[in-house]
Amino acid sequence: MYRGIRDYFDNCGYLEVDTPLLTDSPIPESHIELFQTRKVRPDGTSYPLYLVPSPEIWLKMALASGSSSLFQIGRCFRNGEQMDKWHRNEFTMLEWYGVDKTSGDNLLVMQEIIKVTLHAVNSEAGEEVSGNIREISMDEAFREFAGFSLESALEESGLSGINRTSPGYPASLADITEFFRSRLKEKNLPSGDIDRESADDLFHRLFLTLVEDALPADRPLALTHWPAFIPTLARGIPDTPWADRWELYIRGVEVANCYGEETGEELLKNYWENESPEKPDPDFRWPQLIGRGMPSCSGTAVGLDRLLALVRGDDSLKGLDLFPIHDNMPR
């Protein structure tokens, strides 16, 4: 499979890169737990290093330094994840960036990657894996399965065409937070401490309970147009409340995500500031370096273990565990 993927990108003129697994300044993502280790100096003093949760920051730095389209197949590490059917603390990720490409272009590339994988393992998987990717927007999905238009709600809250640095943003965010809260109450859904929860947690409660599970799984599905208020590094689509982002589901399992990448220095800085508070050692040189040099591009990250397991027709990652470790280790 790896060879097939490498050949595909090679033929398309992408550069393969191999970036470090250890870093002293990981990308800030408030929902990802990191594996921390320590670098010991010869004199016995030490400082923290982290295993990368993805190669994103390195690849973006390469692009900002003038690289052409590029890709990497590499190991990634995420702590705190439960080891269950579809989660591992260590996994293999394919990440690629196409310069001057859009998230739509990358969806076509994604279809090719699925084909390459099917071919590599001689899979006879049915339409649910090999079929053409169906596109559904988040608004369509909410109208169909949650019974209301997310777009109308976002627009009424004033979240259309503004971003996190706009003056009216906090008021609009408070407005949509209240909207989600009342929807959860109205539907009598489990709510935890919803009076203090952020808009994106409340959104995910609605999305995961009413929508995600109900999405059609008879063909691979790209869920497009995610709300821009969810903090990510995807660019906003002008004059809409949406981010240029899709997530790919195969047989209901999330396999890949893609952004039309944010390249504005101010918004990158804002992201770093907001995502950093609980994270170790944020390095504020990154948004500056990336923002000043990154070309217009779209990047996609694929969980290759998940893709391979799904293409093989497996119901979990178990069949790929050569040397399994469990949550209840050590004995």
């Binding site: 994840e81 059917k85 859904l189 489990p190 409660r205 995961l208 599970d213 999330e254």
Partner: protein
Amino acid sequence: MGMIKAGAIAKGTYLLEKNEPFIVAEREFVNPGKGSAFVRLKLKNLRSAAVLKITHKSQDNCEEIDVDEVECQFLYSDGTLFHFMDTATFDQFEVPIKTHENARFYMLEGETFKLTRWNDETLDIRLPPKKDLLVAEAEEAVKGDTVTGATKYVITETNLKVKVPIFIKQGEKIRVNVESGEYQERIND
């Protein structure tokens, strides 16, 4: 009653949701691409047997039910209720069959079982993974029907219909998988 973080809930945990007792039938972790960790649960209502699918944030506090494990003797079934006796206190009590449909095929009068009880309510009857049952009714194998893998249906002493190999006869004992209801082997006592 204790509180449990949703992220610590396992299959088989007893929960109180909306004042109804549930057992967790399935648990799946969902970490949306850019969001908090969530747990998707499939719960079985222990009163109505209805299935409830809910999603909790891993950090949500849920109410876990403190249950008692009680050893009980199965006395008899009257068609709507199972009648049990607590073997320690000799208290007798009933359990509606409709909440534990499957149990009626695997309990013989006089046998003891562990029951999961909460506030005088039976939440679960612990059945063994396998159960040996007598074949009460079986058709005779048709002569000449010797195709390997040929099967037929028999009825056990508990009125369970089981698909078995053609050689099984009335009065013989068979081992049945309790969860799937499938034949496993013939028992020669």
